[in-house]
């Protein structure tokens, strides 16, 4: 279907341009390099994995910018049928 459309109407790349532009501007304006999000994602995976079994391959960490309000959107899928690991009553290791 896509190649059919492309053959008759030419490439339709404007949506790609718009999405890529939106993302790159969010990072530019926040002065946060995209690579930093990868590091944050790895940190989050390490912390959550101590407590829950998560689907590490599908963890997503993204910046969003709605009307100038910047936020970090984190999506962490929990693996089906998992129980919290570690001691339930334990507090996170105290930072000393």
């Amino acid at each position: 279907m896509n190649s059919f459309l492309t053959r008759f109407f030419g490439p339709r790349s404007a949506d790609d341009a718009k999405n890529r532009l939106r993302l790159v501007l969010i990072h530019d304006r926040a002065e946060i390099p995209p690579g930093l999000l990868d590091e944050i994602k790895n940190d989050i995976i390490a912390v959550i994995s101590r407590r829950l079994q998560i689907d590490t391959a599908h963890v997503a960490v993204n910046m969003d910018d709605e009307a100038g309000e910047r936020r970090l959107l984190v999506d962490i899928p929990i693996l089906q049928g998992t129980r919290p690991s570690g001691r339930l009553s334990a507090r996170p290791p105290a930072s000393r």
Partner: protein, 261 residues
């Protein structure tokens, strides 16, 4: 004389700063205003070429600043439009040859004789850009409907703002309505959604621009194409007319389907 200094900039190179400066300058002069177009790109001057005035340069703006000549000796009168002058940049120097204070002082001198002083800024956000926006009362940012130039425009708009020269006004250059119509090019709306600036003009892609540049005669002087019209409209808006900004229409249905403009 009541005068206004307008700097034309973009961040990214090759988006049409020099072409736009030349054409807006010509169109303002055609409206009867006294106009000086100034090349801010020291070391890589091109405004003289686009204007077809390259053979008439004797002195340049750096000569004026360093006291080797009077301002009037460096100004080149355009023979086609009598109220239009060019102040060329030095070609054998670099951006360090003029600092923001010197550029501002130079423009203060120009303000005595001209109603509009247009500065063609160099690409980039370094010293040449900073020097070019220093005297500005108004800044025009040129962008193309293309990801990298819109990104750079966003950066420049921010810098213009933080230099206290905002809000910048946007010119979207080289848009092809047929490609926008078949969703193969960013639309004016797409660009306005991400950039917060006011759009002061939309200039369509036009073959006449390259021919004009080849000949050294900007389209605004006597061109009949869509780009010439767009530049004349921009000049009228800068001149204070309340002219709504319109999206150039795309061609007919067949053109929309088969157009590969």
């Amino acid at each position: 004389m009541e005068s206004i200094v307008i700097t034309v900039t973009s961040g990214k190179g090759g988006v049409g700063k020099t072409t736009s400066t030349a054409n807006i300058g010509c169109a303002l002069a055609q409206l009867g205003r006294k106009v000086c177009i100034t090349d801010g790109d020291i070391g890589l001057r091109n405004l003289d070429i686009v204007m077809g005035l390259e053979n008439r340069i004797v002195y340049d703006s750096v000569d004026v600043v360093e006291g080797r000549c009077k301002l009037k000796q460096a100004l080149i009168r355009d023979k086609r439009l009598e109220s239009l002058f060019l102040l060329p940049a030095a070609q054998t120097r670099d951006k360090t040859a003029m600092n923001p204070q010197q550029m501002t002082a130079l423009c203060d001198q120009l303000r005595e004789d001209f109603e509009f002083i247009l500065i063609d800024s160099p690409a980039g956000i370094e010293q040449g850009f900073q020097t070019s926006i220093a005297p500005a009362d108004k800044v025009l940012v040129i962008t193309n409907p293309e990801v990298s130039s819109v990104r750079d425009a966003d950066r420049v708009i921010g810098l213009v703002e933080s230099a206290g020269k905002g809000p910048a006004q946007l010119i979207i250059n080289r848009i092809i309505a047929a490609r926008v119509a078949r969703k193969d090019m960013l639309s004016v709306e797409d660009i306005m959604e991400v950039l917060t600036s006011n759009v002061i003009g939309i200039v369509p892609e036009d073959e006449e621009i390259l021919s004009a540049s080849n000949r050294g005669s900007p389209v605004a002087i006597s061109g009949k194409g869509a780009a010439a019209m767009a530049y004349r409209d921009i000049a009228r808006r800068i001149n204070g007319e309340n002219l709504p900004v319109q999206m150039p229409r795309s061609g007919g249905l067949l053109h929309r389907i088969f157009g590969r403009a």
